[in-house]
């Protein structure tokens, strides 16, 4: 589904990404892990068109999407949720999701009809129910709790019915119980929607529990890839994480 070949990006002499080649099969659930600064978010930025790579190619279902604008890439089916929830503070959850669905359906610039369009609102409610946010439909996004804001952020990406969904640290900033609730939802969504899911995570327990494949990035390169079992005992991976006590919890 998603093929990345020889992807490279430098910022003023610092190589954030070097010759990264990865393949993501349709419907797979992949975790991307790595120490801070490994280039994980840069990777997402390059795939979604937020940045242009210096070298290499990105192909979505065979089509080269390198150089396309973020808007064009979104239209082709890659959607992204952000590490720090990026939402629309003054609008309600329902309005936000309805407007997103509306954008996805191509109605964003319609002048003649009234908001909300019934078909858009229905789909928005589906997304809300999937995420468990339906009881908060009329709440302005700025009043939501941190966890709910992250859910909404994911909901925005979901509303675009993506073929590839990128989640950037979906459990960041959450307490232990909330984390598992969040990740359970993520897994449920993946099973239901049958999309290609790629997520960045720091919590190794979660990663090892639900990921099919794990890719490890370090200093902008692919350090290792494999199943959780393979990665768990991988000497280089353990070495890369030595010293960060939190993250060796799971190994």
């Amino acid at each position: 589904m998603l093929q990345v070949e020889d992807l490279s990006k430098s910022f003023g002499g610092v190589a954030a990404m070097q010759n990264v080649t990865l393949d993501f099969a349709p419907g797979s659930l992949t975790a991307i892990i790595g120490p801070n600064g490994a280039g994980k978010t840069t990777f997402f930025n390059l795939i979604t068109g937020a940045m242009r790579p210096d070298r290499g190619s990105v192909k979505l279902a065979g089509e080269d999407i390198c150089g396309l604008s973020p808007t064009q890439i979104v239209r082709r089916g890659i959607a992204r949720a952000f590490q720090i929830a990026s939402i629309f503070p003054s609008l309600t959850v329902e309005a936000i999701l309805t407007a997103t669905v509306q954008a996805h359906m191509g109605y964003a610039e319609r002048l003649m009809r009234r908001f909300p369009l019934p078909e858009c609102r229905d789909r928005a409610f589906e997304v809300m129910t999937m995420l468990g946010l339906s009881d908060k439909a009329a709440v302005p996004a700025s009043s939501l709790s941190h966890g709910d804001q992250k859910l909404l952020d994911i909901g925005l990406a979901l509303a675009l019915e993506p073929r590839v969904l990128l989640l950037d640290e979906p459990t960041a900033g959450m307490g232990p119980e909330e984390r598992w609730q969040m990740i359970a939802k993520v897994q449920e969504l993946w099973e239901r929607q049958k999309m290609t899911l790629i997520f960045i995570e720091h919590d190794m327990d979660i990663v090892f529990k639900i990921a099919q494949t794990i890719r490890v990035l370090c200093y902008g390169r692919v350090l290792a890839e494999g199943t959780p079992a393979e990665i768990r005992g991988h000497p280089e991976v353990i070495a890369a994480y030595l010293g960060t006590s939190q993250e060796t919890r799971g190994s």
Partner: protein, 333 residues
Amino acid sequence: MTRRSLAFDLLVGAAALAILALMPIVWPSKALVDFVIRGSAFALFATSLNFLVGYGGMVSFGHGMFFGLGAYSFALLMQRTGMPIPAAFALTLLMCAALGLIVGAICVRLKEIYFAFLTLAFQMLLYSLIILWVPLTGGDQGLRGGIPRPPFLGVNLANQMHLYLMSCALLVVGLILMHHLVQSPFGYTLRMIRDNATRANFLGIAVFRVRLTAFVLAGVFAGAGGVIMSLFVSGAYPEFAYWTISGEGIFIIMLGGWNSFLGPVVGTVILLVLNDFVTRFTEYYGLTLGIIILLFALGLRRGLLDVVLDAWRRQVTLAGVGAKPSGVSNAPL
């Protein structure tokens, strides 16, 4: 018929028009008639500016360019060509749209304060051109000679009452149209861009195109305000294109409230009343107005209608009446 439907708006509009039409009969006063006509011009202008500022997050300091262009275009078309009033009106709106397209295409991609200043620069450039082009515009003396008003469809704008009714009608129709735009899918896309343009981009929204469209639409309605003004003064004056018009527009929005659709209308009434009353009671207009502004800016911190609506909504929630309906929330934005 829910709160949000066009039919509801039309009903409210018809009622408002009826009240406005009856007012001069109940309270005959030339001052009132003049007040409402001027008020219509400014209310259209300010509401169109709030379309950009409040709903789009695009603070323009040069919105007055459309008011000025509207006034001059209409006056010149009527003076120089023989066309009927409705045709001149339509052509004027078209010219405002064209100006909006050109200026908007250049300005809209800029951020915040730079957008504000470049729009101001364009407005002052237009003003300078008006002053310069004496044979066409009369220069700093303004356009003299009055505006021919051939009757159309039984309406004779030489008659003050007809002008009054026409202004009210234009105001009501303009407000209904703008409200419809605000409540359309486009309107909500605009709000999303206002709140978080970067994320909107990542949702597949064509941010530049939406902003440009909003800019052009706002310009058209502002131009309509300019037309009313030119009919009111029977001509056009360079002041209509001076930066102070834009300043008054911003001022009106701040006074009336930028979080409610009708805030600018309330603000227009407040400003015009202030203008008239204050000059009557004191020669220190600036001092009084300045203090009132400070009271708003430092005290209320919001426009009047926003304060009133917020208080009303708090009452409603406290009383337990009306849990937020399952439809889109009551927040106007």
